[in-house]
Symmetry: C2
């Protein structure tokens, strides 16, 4: 037979499913012997039964009767008695905390008669009538949905005529107020039930119904809380903090929730009920002053706080009431805290022996670390700031600069020493130079994984994307949002976390070095199974990744090495020149550039592996589009400009993402990959000669067919072996491939025959698996997420059901051919904490992410390892 | 122990692997008791052993010795004897016929002494020395690779000085020629071996080596013949057709290889060897005249031909020699024939009881049928035609018309009654109206499955794509290839099979109705397991598909219904209008158009299923791009033109193929799909009311996620049920989905929950699996095919290793959820004969292809069924 009611003595802290969080905690505290006013909990299951059947379960009445009986006998009072009435509070409490979402009724059990008896009993008529008017107010609101305002207006009116505030009303005034409140009921066609038992029954139903009120429903949607959990109802004997000067109520945290500092933190009010603290009529006292005010109570409280923290192994948020010098604990729960505090608390609890390192690691959300590594605007700044527009917070940070609409203008202002914010409809690799020098990047189009977002995160530059309101007029050099227009050069502030763009300069707070994070990450590394690598485009990125203790570089892109102002000219010659010697000359220049780049990078990465990806972007990205550039290059190549223009048009692609890129370039322009291989091996030789044990890792992108790797690999090897022989040196090198097309996954057993390692490129893999591009999906992906067609953006969290199936298949097939094949992931989701345990599950060796995400990933891989162990146990 | 040598009496026709085609046939004829000069075959395995080890196997010499002994004893002659010498021919013969690729040596065994004996033996000194000089010539070429020319120059010189041709040289002149030939040997540092046995050994090695000569290697690559098969060597006693007027040689086909007509077809020469027939010095006689010339021989021959045809159940191509009135059979093989003849022969052989229907079906290549259904240029026309350019034969046919560079010009000329050829860099759906009225379509870019190619094949319009030489100047209205420029309006001829474009009008031959094809296809339908559906865009397509006996329509596209001149305006309003009523009004107009379209189509398809795909193309395809159109629509919608222009630019997509299309439109513009559902159900109701049992099949395109189908399906059902209720009628309807994205395959079990049928869209599936688009792959796919990176174009033949794995997975997962789920394929490869057996293997129910491919597919599915049965046995 289903049990609907649990006495606090019957439950425990594990029973959150049945009793809700509050009920379970009350039971747990009771079990621990803490001074909790007695009471009982009606289960969440009862709530769901009620909501489904539209009536309370039959046996509930009996069980409640029995529970009340127990309560009466414990307290020696009688529920509904005129002379010695038992009063109770009725509170909702679901499995997950839903602050402010549901309601509380205090003082339930009073009526026109018992209030008189209660006055006698407590010897305080004022107190008794005050309790009664509060009951009427809360009951009307919660049970009959009478707008709170109706009651408040009555209070206001009487305050005005009486010339005092409500807490100073005379007994007569309170009685008058009670009459007025009853009139409010009547006007709504309701009546306040005089029977205590009836009060309780309708209150229980009201709490159950509140589970489905719109506020609660919306909150659950936002927080991804299941709508089928239901709420429990906690019925507890009242204790009164408003029983005089030796009474009071307060809230205390076992540590500072803002900084994490140890020591109690909280406040209390003498002669008050909990709601008075919230209402803010009087200013509460700091908890430390309680030591002087009520030393014995303070001592007891402080012991209990420590007991609770030790019991829960977490910082506690506690509500207590003092009634005539007697302390009661009303609630305890794990306290909310800032990210900074969370980390400090976790680390210090380990030092105090309260937590193991493993427990501490599991208490921190990886995303907390990311926020802490970036500068933020001060709270004051944010409060005063004038918002201009809002997009997606694509790369965290708080940056200030002058708006520029293109890379040229950005460079110009930058050179004159001004900070700049690059604002574009969208960015492309040609904007790289402008992006590097910008404090922040803002784009009109694109999502969290657009080009701008990816590059910015890679470089730790603040970035806001998908700021769709921006109407950029590149000719007039202005940008307009609604009716606000600003000109190029205007100073703006960009919050890369919230995505808000402000006019003017907001005050900033710099992120300080946090030794607690360092400590935590050291512990993380100790338990991790997966290694964490960083992705890097430049020596600067690389240095950041190394600073953050990346175990290697999982993706060193070489694109930007072709996009520099001088370099792109040479690249264009390679593509467009008709004479072989012109091509060769251009390639030689590029070779020199690349060698220098790689030497610089190897000097930073030292003997940690660095996976260099051969050239990947679509051919057309290198080609000039404006006629001046075309004429210039035609001149250099001694070609006819209009003919060259035609040639360039001929290279136009309808879907560049699906076009002539990746290893397809390596097949049709083998000389480019051969040049890159030469640059890599020659720079490695240089460093080897200095005694640094470089092991070059060369990665072929966009393989869909073993034949591609099988054709390219020997050409690379030929170049490498030739250079090694010429330098009279031998060392290990590896040639691997990106696995970023569905077909590469499906045929990974064959692909593995021609390569030494795999690295998943989840961006392309996700694009192809779903058949939509990151750049173009913005127009419908938002729709999909809000309509619940998709649970999350597959570009920020791996799609386990689709993309993940292909990845799993590729790992299995690859290792079927080469059991020791080393496999990593270097796409955007490589650093996604939500994805990392999946990557561990399918057997990857490492994840690689943008440098600023390395610390986040280090924590996430540790958690994944710990969870795996837990599950395995 | 490996056996290297087989006497003709030991082998048989099944031993093509070991003995090669020629050797197996000689053995088979011998076994049948036909008059074959005795001989033996050295196996293909011996060849591979020789090529691998670079020397002949040890035991070979003994086995050859023994075989020669047998031959000597049979013929009572001695190999290498001076007085009574045995002469042999040495011929190569691999498993697959490689015409002209390898070499033959005749008269082997002669030397300076034995030629004297041979003269005495035959009583014909001239003949003997002629045989000897031929041996020297052939041996020098084959064994020592002495250029043939060296010998021919000597003959030429002597012919000039003698004043007669070689066959009239005197004995003295022949002897002189032999001396000259020996001088040629000497000059090359070679000597002609006088030992018959040595001649034979080096000849055998030479034949083996010829397997790897460049010609042979290239041919095998072209024909996809394995390089590891090796060639056999056939050594056979010589018979001499050049032994006088009662001797001769000839070639005869058992039926006419050009028309398929029954009755012998061939020619012969009196007093000649086979090579003389080829050399063309004398004109051969028709085979029928042999009946008068040598009645007995003719009668014997004709009996043998019938025997052979009956034995091989196929038309035979036979070589014979007559020596002193005695008939010898030297070779028989299945004769090459035209496609037309092949079909006639197969059908007539069934009627004659020589073949079963099943055997006949397996004898015809499906592609043969396609060629026969299209008009062709006459041979004379092709011979005289002046080629202008060449691309890919994308849709067969022979068409003539005036060049137009856009749809507007095409319409203009067409209205004035001129035939037109639409020539564009590439086509897009906006060109549809111009394409429909064109005789042929030619595009600069794109491959066999580009938009132009797909549409053209769908409509049976001749088409050449990827004609990369064309430099179209749209302003000057000219097109230039190399230095030849022609103007718009110039008459050209387009061969959609060869891909060649000719200047002017070539003579055409119309395809006639072929009752043999009809008969064959009727038999095909009897054995098929898979059904064949057609894809159709218009009522015209639909009618063609039905004429070709399609069992349904697997893909009725609705795009063109939105691209008509008036219609696209309304569609643009739906996308761009700001006012709901304008949108609604435009939708209502589109509804009326669509209803009329569907009624027309249902009237043709009748009760055969027709799968209508909801709107699919990227949004931007509907949007105007030139400013006039934008202004016009802005006016109609009372919008500001420059604002509208901005809005349109905002809808621009970087990769339209990966953008806002397919069911993504259905999610963001639900009203469009709802309108389509209404049009479909209302037109079906109209036809139902006329007593035609329409079962609407509605297909949702581009699903990547169950949620999409789950969101769209109930909306369609709501519209349908409302209309059915309003008409007070109930009938079955189905809602299915295209499976065309990798993720749909990977999650097919879930997708199946929300749909009634699947249809594979292999074009998109292939694009996404490989990560390249058909439109853009042209720049590298050719490279891939010629370099052997890919074995075939995955857009024309299904990629079993990649795309096929996904398809197989989708079928299994789909039927795991719904065991009876009906599944077809409607992408380009649906009609590919090479793909159909794979589709049968993975369990599809039907294939759907462009209407003109339906007959091809009908034959292919029959063959697939027959092969499956064979394999099963």
């Amino acid at each position: 037979m289903t049990k609907h009611v649990y006495d606090f003595l019957e439950g425990n802290g594990e029973m959150r499913d049945e009793l809700g969080g509050k009920g379970a905690n009350l039971a747990e505290m009771t079990k621990l012997g803490l001074p909790v006013p007695p009471g009982f909990t009606i289960t969440t299951g009862t709530c769901m039964a009620y909501l489904n059947d539209n009536r309370l379960p039959e046996r509930l009445k009996e069980e409640v009767d029995a529970a009340i009986k127990t309560l009466e006998s414990k307290l020696n009072k009688t529920f509904g008695s005129q002379d010695n009435c038992l009063l109770v509070s009725v509170r909702s409490g679901s499995k997950f905390s839903m602050p402010g979402m549901m309601d509380t009724i205090l003082n339930l059990g009073l009526n026109d008669q018992s209030v008189v008896g209660f006055a006698k009993l407590t010897g305080d008529e004022h107190f008794a009538y005050d309790c009664y008017r509060r009951l009427l107010q809360m009951f009307g609101d919660v049970v009959y949905s009478i707008p709170k305002q109706r009651f408040e207006l009555k209070i206001k009116a009487m305050e005005e005529s009486a010339g005092v505030l409500v807490d100073q009303f005379s007994i007569e005034q309170l009685k008058e107020l009670i009459v007025e409140f009853k009139a409010v009921y009547q006007k709504e066609g309701k009546e306040f039930p005089q029977s205590a038992r009836e009060q309780l029954d309708v209150a229980i139903e009201a709490v159950f119904r509140s589970w489905n009120n719109p506020r609660a429903f919306t909150y659950r949607n936002l927080q991804n809380i299941d709508h089928d959990l239901g709420t429990a109802v906690n019925i507890q004997a009242m204790v009164f903090g408003n029983s005089g000067e030796n009474s009071g109520t307060g809230v205390v945290f076992s540590r500072n929730p803002s900084t994490g500092e140890s020591g109690f933190f909280g406040e209390y009010l003498i002669n008050a009920q909990g709601e008075d603290v919230v209402a803010g009529i009087r200013t509460p006292e700091k908890i430390s002053t309680l030591e002087d005010a009520m030393p014995e109570v303070y001592q007891e409280l402080s012991g209990l706080i420590t007991t609770l923290e030790n019991h829960y192994h977490d910082m506690q948020d506690i509500e207590f009431t003092i009634e005539h010098n007697k302390l009661y604990m009303l609630q305890t729960r794990n306290g909310k805290r800032t990210d900074k505090a969370a980390i400090r608390i976790a680390v210090e609890m380990v030092e105090e022996g309260l937590l193991t390192k493993e427990e501490a690691l599991l208490k921190i959300q990886p995303s907390m670390i990311e926020t802490l590594l970036h500068a933020v605007f001060s709270e004051a700044g944010l409060k005063d700031g004038e918002a201009f527009s809002k997009g997606l917070g694509a790369s965290p940070g708080a940056s200030i600069g002058r708006v520029c609409f293109d890379a040229v203008k950005a460079a110009e202002l930058h050179q004159s020493g001004e900070p700049v914010v690059l604002m574009r409809n969208e960015t492309s690799p040609e904007d790289i130079e402008g992006m590097i020098i910008s404090e922040a990047i803002v784009t009109n189009h694109g999502g969290m994984t657009s080009h701008a977002a990816v590059v910015a995160r890679g470089m730790g530059i603040c970035c806001v994307t998908g700021c769709e309101q921006l109407a950029i007029d590149e000719e007039a050099r202005t940008v307009t949002v609604n009716d606000v227009m600003i000109e190029e050069g205007t100073m703006i502030s960009v919050d890369g976390t919230s995505g808000v763009i402000y006019l003017g300069e907001l005050e900033k707070v710099l992120a300080e070095e946090d030794h607690n994070i360092k400590t935590l990450l050291t512990w993380a590394d100790e338990v991790a199974n997966l290694q964490v690598y960083g992705n890097a485009e430049t020596a600067r990125d690389l240095a950041v990744a190394m600073d953050f203790n990346a175990q290697g570089i999982g993706l060193a892109r070489t694109e930007h090495m072709f996009f520099g102002k001088e370099r792109i000219k040479e690249m264009r010659k390679v593509i467009l020149a008709e004479q072989d010697d012109e091509k060769r000359e251009a390639l030689n220049k590029l070779l020199a550039y690349q060698k220098a780049d790689f030497e610089e990078m190897y000097a930073i990465s030292q003997d940690k592996p660095m996976v260099i990806r051969l050239l990947d972007p679509p051919l057309h990205e290198f080609l000039p589009t404006n006629i001046n550039e075309i004429e210039e290059i035609a001149k250099e190549l001694k070609m006819n400009a209009s003919r060259l223009n035609k040639q360039i048009k001929g290279l136009h692609e309808t879907n560049p993402m699906l076009g002539h890129r990746g290893c397809r370039l390596g097949i049709t322009f083998p000389e480019i990959y051969e040049m890159q291989a030469q640059a890599i091996i020659e720079s490695a030789i240089t460093l080897r000669q200095k005694g640094i044990a470089i092991v070059p890792h060369i990665m072929i992108p966009l393989v869909s067919e073993q034949g591609e790797a099988a054709m390219i690999r020997p050409k690379l090897i030929a170049v490498i072996e030739e250079k090694l022989a010429a330098a009279n040196i031998q060392f290990e090198y590896q040639i691997g491939t990106m696995i970023e097309l569905p077909r590469a996954c499906l045929t990974a057993d064959k692909v593995a025959e021609s390569v030494d390692f795999f690295s998943f490129g989840t961006n392309d893999l996700t694009q192809m698996t779903y058949g939509f591009s990151r750049d173009d999906a913005g127009k419908f992906l938002g729709h999909y997420l809000t309509d619940g067609i998709m649970a999350h953006d597959p570009f920020t969290q791996v799609d386990e059901d689709g993309v993940g199936v292909l990845m799993d298949m590729a790992v299995k097939k690859g290792r079927q051919t080469k059991p020791d094949l080393r496999i990593g992931v270097c796409g955007e989701v490589g650093g996604s904490p939500e994805s990392i345990s999946f990557f561990e599950k399918i057997g990857l060796d490492y994840v690689s992410c943008s440098p600023y995400r390395v610390p986040v990933a280090r924590l996430a891989v540790a958690q994944s390892a710990l969870n795996k162990t837990h599950i395995a146990q």
